[in-house]
């Protein structure tokens, strides 16, 4: 694929700790095309945030051990890039939007100044020009009264405003890839919708690729083009957004979708997946989902299925998917 912005092959992360090894990420492959928004969905502890940090090479290694066969950002090979150069790449070509804007912003610097810094670092602008660009950027993310808001400190802004500032900050250097880690989880429903819209617009307008990390399927439905569903460190299903909601193939995806209550539902008991996510140090043998799976039988208990399907289309990691990926046509 010529137009692949992020290509990750076989990313693995483990955390050795007293009494064993936490296998956080067990060999995931990702391909994100230009202008596409891919979502990595999973529950807490499935390794989605760790994957994002590993792609940014932001994981501290002592605690973590990373291996990756191939990590390309556009035409840059980051697989074995040393930290020093990685810092430059991160500032210029990759940006991250965190869940907690309060800790991601510098509390003793006005938000305008923090965005100015980015413009000043990446282009030859005077302070005045940089500020002008900052105000434009803030207007783009729909911060009202951007000129005066630029002079406020992070703690003076509301959660939604801070998240917008973070988005403006991330897009300021026109990166190739934006990684958004639970960008709206900490926000209220009405604010969440606003911020998500802003993020979507920014991503479309700038034609920036995005990797969205979330546990919230409704966020995925409103934002993503491609969906990777993770469970216990492995990708269990990959599909275009519409497809995964209309016809999930993996029993886990199916159960997850069924268990989310919808406004349109009639009153009835909620569909539930039994049990809980396995502890990352004590994963079951065979398919990791088999103890919770209604379709599991002997092979599931003994062997881990492969992620199978056409190379650039639907794929599912299951011995007994609801349908075979090649049967699905959409």
């Amino acid at each position: 694929m010529a137009d692949t912005v992020l290509e990750v092959r076989n990313l693995k992360v483990a955390f050795p700790c007293p009494g064993g090894v936490i296998r956080a990420v067990e060999g995931i492959d990702l391909d994100i095309h230009r202008g596409e928004c891919a979502a990595l969905v999973g529950e807490s502890g499935c390794g989605k945030s760790v994957s994002a940090l590993a792609i940014m090479k932001l994981l501290n290694t002592p605690p973590a051990v990373c291996r990756v066969d191939k990590l390309w950002l556009d035409d840059l090979d980051l697989t074995h890039l040393p930290d020093r150069q990685m810092e430059r790449i991160r500032g210029k070509h990759m940006a991250m939007i965190f869940q907690d804007a309060m800790t991601a912003l510098n509390p003793v610097m006005t938000v305008g100044k923090q965005i100015d810094e980015i413009y000043l670092r990446h282009s030859r602008l005077s302070r005045r020009e940089a500020r002008q660009r900052t105000i434009e950027a803030l207007e783009l993310v729909e911060v009202p009264e951007a000129r005066s808001r630029a002079n406020s400190y992070p703690h003076q802004l509301s959660g939604g405003m801070r998240q917008r500032v973070l988005i403006a900050l991330a897009f300021a250097c026109v990166p190739k890839l934006i990684i958004a880690d639970e960008p709206t989880t900490a926000l209220d429903v009405t604010i969440q919708a606003q911020v998500l819209d802003v993020l979507k617009n920014m991503q479309r307008v700038h034609r920036v690729s995005a990797l969205l990390i979330t546990h919230d399927l409704s966020v995925v439905a409103n934002m993503a083009d491609t969906v990777y569903v993770m469970y216990a460190g492995k990708i269990v299903e990959r599909a275009a957004m519409q497809e995964i909601f209309l016809e999930p193939l993996h029993p886990y995806t199916h159960g997850l979708l069924a268990s989310v209550p919808r406004i349109s539902d009639e009153r009835q008991p909620f569909v539930q997946i039994p049990d809980a996510v396995p502890h990352p140090m004590r994963k079951p043998t065979g398919c990791y989902f088999h103890p919770r799976c209604p379709r599991s039988n002997d092979p599931c208990r003994q062997r881990m299925p492969r992620l199978e399907g056409p190379d650039d289309g639907r794929a599912v990691r299951c011995w007994h998917p609801l349908r075979q990926p090649h049967e699905v046509r959409s």
């Binding site: 483990a14 050795p16 090894v21 060999g27 002592p62 605690p63 092979p299 062997r303 011995w319 007994h320």
Partner: protein, 343 residues
């Protein structure tokens, strides 16, 4: 499930001190501290048996200023002919008693004040916080000098001053922790169930602060031992008791440097060092054990040194996709099960 856990339960329920000691013992440095402190306590208790001479015997004028020998392992003093080795052994009594005694008294007072301020709040809180604020700005050392000259030089006065002016630090820390615990949901649940204040204070709040209290006791005890030595050296200690600080002062006064009697200076120095070191170890290890973040970082780094690469390679290899021989999905009834299982 039941057998191994019974011990643990007993430990957790029957007094947290047991748990603390157990946890300390598992940590090599904590074990070192415990052993050292244990030895010191034994020495202090068994001093009359261990000491070859009576250290208070100042009548051995004939044996003044002896160099170390088999009779006198650390020689004798130049002024009165006391056996220095025996003085060293007896000195541990004063040091430990002042250290531990003050530490425990401090912990008790500090915890009481902190919990009261934090949990009762309102007027009591205001009062205690004000008192703490005032106490914190009063310099302790000059005050001790003034008070000892006023009330007479005795360890009782010294301990009293240390306790009266030392509890504030602990009280502040405890208070802020109690404020956190007080608002936790399990306290709320207990209140909902109709628990009295006393119940919540003793069952939920005090146990929650116990690690801080014990850690603080160990660390302040070490600090007090140094302070005691300093005061005794300045001549502010009890003139009738033998302490390591006073030994140093006597060594200086008796011209240990002049006669080249380095052992006279080194001996109490080692005593002070060992006692402070052991208590510091205990306190620091305690902090490490109960502060998860510190614990994680230090032990993980150690773990990394032990991890050999082949083991990690094995882990990573086990994450690989299986080279499935059968491309077609296995049928529902039965599937061949190759040996390649996941570890």
């Amino acid at each position: 499930m039941s057998r191994p856990n019974v011990l643990l339960q007993v430990a957790q329920r029957g007094g947290s001190l047991v748990t603390f000691v157990r946890k300390l013992w598992q940590h090599p440095q904590g074990r070192l501290g415990l052993i050292l402190a244990g030895c010191l306590v034994l020495v202090a208790i068994l001093a009359p048996i261990l000491a070859p001479y009576d250290p208070y015997d100042v009548t051995q004028r004939a044996a003044k200023g002896l160099r170390p020998s088999w009779q006198h392992p650390l020689g004798t003093t130049t002024t009165t002919g006391q056996d220095i080795f025996s003085m060293l052994i007896y000195g541990s009594r004063v040091s430990l008693m002042i250290g531990i005694g003050t530490g425990v008294a401090l912990a008790f007072l500090g915890a009481l004040m902190g919990v009261m301020a934090g949990y009762l709040g309102g007027f009591v809180d205001n009062l205690i916080v004000r008192v703490v604020d005032i106490m914190l700005v009063i310099p302790t050392l000059p005050l001790i000098i003034v008070l000892t000259s006023l009330l007479g030089r005795s360890y009782f006065v010294i301990v009293l001053v240390f306790v009266i002016f030392g509890w504030t630090g602990l009280a502040r820390v405890i208070r802020s922790l109690v404020l956190v615990l007080k608002n936790s949901n399990y306290v709320k649940a207990a209140e909902l169930a109709g628990a009295s204040r006393w119940y919540i204070m003793t069952k939920h709040i005090l146990p929650g602060t116990s690690h801080l209290i014990i850690m603080n006791t160990a660390l302040t005890s070490a600090g007090i031992m140094v302070a005691e030595a300093g005061l005794s050296f300045l001549g502010l200690g009890d003139p009738t008791a033998i302490s390591w600080g006073k030994m140093l002062a006597e060594a200086q006064g008796g011209g240990a440097l002049l006669f080249g009697a380095w052992w006279w200076i080194i001996a109490p120095g080692i005593g002070i060092f060992l006692s402070v070191f052991s208590f510091m170890r205990i306190g620091i290890v305690m902090e490490e054990v109960f502060n998860p973040r510190m614990k994680a970082s230090s032990s993980i780094y150690k773990l990394f040194k032990h991890l050999n690469n082949t083991y990690l390679d094995e882990v990573f290899r086990s994450m690989e996709e299986e080279e499935s021989v059968v491309r077609e999905p296995p049928d529902r009834s039965d599937a061949p099960t190759p040996e390649g299982c996941h570890g």
